[in-house]
Symmetry: C2
């Protein structure tokens, strides 16, 4: 199939033993410079490519990282994966990318498949459905290197990378209040999610600090159907108790809100102000009116995950991944959607 020669054939061609050739190619001190040169040039001439599986079998590592994300069509997750690839590629590592489609059953299948060692580590963000995390604890307890980002499992003692969710939720809400909002809704993906909880705490504290009280009917949990989300939001906007501000903790719900508003007589920002966690900056400024955003450092998060793993996997005797949460701050960009009139 793949036409190249193998080590034995290369050795035969050179009239050397496979072990010598292997050592020469791996720049072993046991081999003279002269033969190293010969071996290398012949290897190039015959286009020798070491078989990755033989090597993986022998070395018990695959030079592969698995990345598990909830969805691919998302500028946030795409940028994180770009950041991961930027680093891992420098180390010659490959990336297996899996999407759970926000489905915890698929997540479990994927994680269980990965237990056989096909990848040397996993970088993941859990699905919005994930509440039972036994598949993940099992993985971690077996000593499998596991790093979380964004949607993390706080109970699993490993390294997690997030943005400053609490502060961002707090500041975002505070901004709405400063712009005159008094009834602020909170849009989320799922109550179970770590990011939801942290951002919600920030939201609550900001309300409290301003002497406002949270109202349960101003919390909307997202479902998988975009149309359903739009309708749910529209219903809220049409209710007598409608909000005058919205903090969306997810990009897709901000878009759903714009759709919902189009179906009402309300105007942003006159009747309703909105701020959202949002990664697609080019789009944010094109929305009408342009959207005030909390931008997570997606690319950096990916890079940091990968840097940590590369250190652990490529240096000889590294300690376990420390149990800590590393936060990289988001940036709030104020645009028209929250301007006080």
């Amino acid at each position: 199939m793949s036409a190249g020669v193998n080590l034995k054939e290369l050795a035969a061609e050179l009239k050397l033993s496979p072990s010598t050739v292997s050592r020469a190619l791996n720049d072993s001190y046991e081999i003279s410079e002269a033969t190293k040169k010969k071996v290398i040039s012949m290897a190039e001439k015959l286009n020798y490519q070491p078989n990755p599986f033989a090597r993986s079998l022998r070395e018990n590592k695959s030079k592969t990282i698995a990345v598990v994300i909830p969805e691919r069509i998302s500028s946030f997750f795409s940028k994180v994966v770009d950041g991961i690839e930027e680093i891992t590629q420098q180390y010659g590592y490959h990336l297996l990318v899996y999407s759970t489609h926000e489905d915890v059953d698929r997540e479990k299948k994927i994680v269980n498949l990965l237990m056989n060692g096909r990848a040397d580590a996993i970088i993941m963000s859990v699905s919005s459905q994930t509440s039972d995390i036994s598949h993940l604890t099992r993985l971690h307890e077996r000593g499998f290197p596991l790093v979380f980002f964004d949607r993390i499992c706080p109970d699993i003692p490993t390294t997690k990378f997030i943005t400053n969710d609490y502060e961002s939720g707090f500041e975002g809400t505070k901004h709405l209040i400063q712009q005159g909002c008094r009834k602020i809704a909170f849009l989320m993906l799922s109550k179970e999610l770590s990011i939801t909880k942290d951002r919600y705490r920030g939201y609550l504290d900001a309300l409290r600090q301003a002497g406002l009280s949270p109202e349960p009917q101003l919390n909307i949990t997202c479902c998988q159907e975009e149309e359903q989300n739009i309708e749910d939001i529209r219903q809220m906007l049409l209710s007598p108790n409608r909000p005058d501000g919205i903090l969306s903790s997810v990009e897709k719900l901000a878009l759903a809100t714009y759709h919902a508003v189009k179906r009402t007589d309300l105007k942003i920002p006159q009747d309703l102000k909105i701020i959202s966690f949002f990664s697609n900056l080019s789009i944010a400024s094109l929305l009408h009116p342009s959207l005030t955003t909390i931008t997570q450092p997606a690319f950096s998060i990916g890079e940091e995950c990968a840097k940590l793993l590369m250190k652990k996997l490529t240096k000889p005797r590294q300690p376990d991944l420390p149990n800590q949460v590393i936060s990289i701050p988001s940036k709030i960009t104020i645009r028209s959607s929250t301007i006080a009139i």
Copy 2:
């Protein structure tokens, strides 16, 4: 590392030989039902997971497909990969995903890395810089299964999946003409790209049919810097010879156009109509005004690529991938950006 037992240990536990256990697990006719049952239940109990590298080494296949795309932050490519994953995952295949970032040098590195057999096949869309395709012909000549989609290499005799680029370019242009446009600009990624050529032919033929003549200064080729693209488009819009219609053959240039228009006094669709190849439908209808789109069947394209490959790779003696171009039609959705006033 990964705690599981291996075949030998499992066999020892069962007081059987590794070969019997292997056969039992692979449901060989040579093994009695009784022992099969025993083996399987013990395998589950000890959580036996076959080592993928040992198996790959032996069988000379990896159950892995490599997907090479020009960029990750793109709803089109994300959907294609989703489509691929939908199929491959049913067959137990894994996906290595690489982004070239529209850089032909990175593309070459990736392709060369893949030649060692880490993946059983490649599904790819070439970078906008790719004109020398020697790295790809070499791969194909070695018998490596290779499938192209969207941005294809016409000269490599393998199967390619595209949308009806010519017709879509033709129909899109015709639509603009019907809405009253007389000076229609064409926005593209690179002149070398197969999709550019086909869509451009459609554009030219539609102009010709309407008795309009193409003007070279109304063609804009995209660069990698978004800001530069916006400025280039703005310059065109400010020129005395400015277009009254735009056919954008790429999503990102439609967005750049919206940005550029915001920096002028022009109004869409009054002063300028625009239609674009575009995959992010949710965004298209939120743009202001909403964007008339030519939507490629991204998910289906991914599925079809994967179905073809799965057939070739999992059935015993399959022929080579036939040299043909399979076209799956796009769909034009008319929105406000091309409405005649």
